[in-house]
């Protein structure tokens, strides 16, 4: 149940991100839309790794190693989400750097001003 709610939230975030990327003409808003869609994917990944009633895959006093495999969520999507967050940050940094350069070239952040590579 809870993972379905989380999954729906993540997918909605992706939709909002795609909507933002398609409708807005300001480059910064497009970057924000992209980040929103990326965050949505992370939430979807974590939701898909959820096991009913599971807890975090960390062995400690309240979670013995013997019973761990029946009581924890899937660790692989969480590990992949860490990777994805780092890569998402990297992509966002590059996009913002390009946004700065584009602003310097045309003194505007509107994507309509950049028609050279439009076909």
């Amino acid at each position: 149940m809870i993972s379905t709610v989380v999954l729906a939230t993540g997918l909605t975030l992706i939709l909002i991100g795609i909507w933002g990327m398609l409708t807005h003409r300001n480059i910064l808003r497009i970057v924000i839309g992209f980040s929103l869609a990326g965050t949505g994917t992370h939430i979807v990944m974590v939701a898909l790794g959820y096991v009913a009633g599971g807890t975090a895959p960390i062995i400690d006093r309240s979670l013995g190693a013997a019973e761990a495999s029946s009581r924890v969520v899937d660790p692989i999507p969480s590990a992949l989400a860490v990777t994805a967050i780092v890569i998402g940050l990297a992509v966002t940094a590059i996009m913002l750097a390009f946004a700065i350069r584009l602003y310097e070239a045309k003194k505007t952040l509107s994507i309509d001003a950049f028609t050279e590579s439009k076909w």
Partner: protein, 231 residues
């Protein structure tokens, strides 16, 4: 008009796919085989309490190495894209001194930066025991760098020092990995150091070492990226 129609169509199709995904989603009641295997093997074989760190720093450590390479590339690329600007634009607008930070920000930074640094060290050192690890701790280090730069906008970060620290950490990370092929059973195998007592700070073989190297590297890299955006 046609564009708006196309956007609505794209969104509707995506919404359809997502809705069917959500409707047909069935919550798992047991771990898939690979995840189950990891949960069993990480405490047993690697001696790490945090299964996710065990995966990130041993079983999939090669991925992590690739990720570090990506971060390094981003720092270099941001420098390349933003770096040439200064030489070309200097004559056009004279650099005006940045507005000094307010007293609240300055005092807050003085109190918070040491605390944030301690917290980052805690997160990095406990990566194999509880929630945390090199990437998360590195991000916290970078947040303290942001606070420092907000409190003293005219301060220059020592890019040279940051770059050389980061490169040293990267080289050491690879060297630990190579040592794994010689003294243990494979590249980045953490069992080249004794596993120690399960759940103590110095346990899980080379994992704390890798975690610290990763934290230093990520912290330096993110600070460099942030500093490049500022200039």
């Amino acid at each position: 008009m046609i564009r708006r129609l196309a956007i609505v169509l794209v969104l509707a199709l995506f919404g359809l796919v997502f809705a069917s995904l959500t409707v047909h989603h069935v919550e798992r009641h047991s771990l898939p085989p690979l995840g189950k295997r990891y949960v069993e093997l990480v405490p047993q074989e690697l001696g790490a309490a945090n299964v996710i760190t065990g995966i990130l720093l041993t079983y999939r450590a090669f991925d992590t190495l690739g990720e570090i390479a990506v971060l390094f590339m981003v720092a270099a690329a941001v420098g390349l894209v933003l770096g040439r600007r200064e030489r070309r634009d200097l004559p056009r607008d004279a650099p005006q001194p940045p507005r000094p930070a307010s007293e609240i920000v300055r005092t807050g930074a003085q109190i918070l930066v040491p605390l944030i640094a301690i917290f980052a060290a805690y997160i990095i050192a406990n990566g194999h025991l509880s929630a945390g690890g090199g990437f998360q701790g590195g991000a916290v280090v970078a947040s303290s760098a942001v606070l420092l730069l907000l409190a003293a906008p005219s301060r220059q970060l020592d890019q040279q020092l940051l770059s050389s620290t980061e490169s040293t950490a990267g080289v050491l990370f690879v060297l630990v990995g190579v040592a794994g092929t010689i003294f243990a059973s494979g590249f980045l195998d953490n069992r080249l150091l004794p596993l120690g007592q399960f759940g103590s700070l110095f346990s899980a073989g080379a994992m704390p070492v890798l975690s610290v190297l990763l934290g230093v590297k990520v912290g330096c890299e993110l600070s460099v990226i942030i500093d490049r955006f500022r200039s």
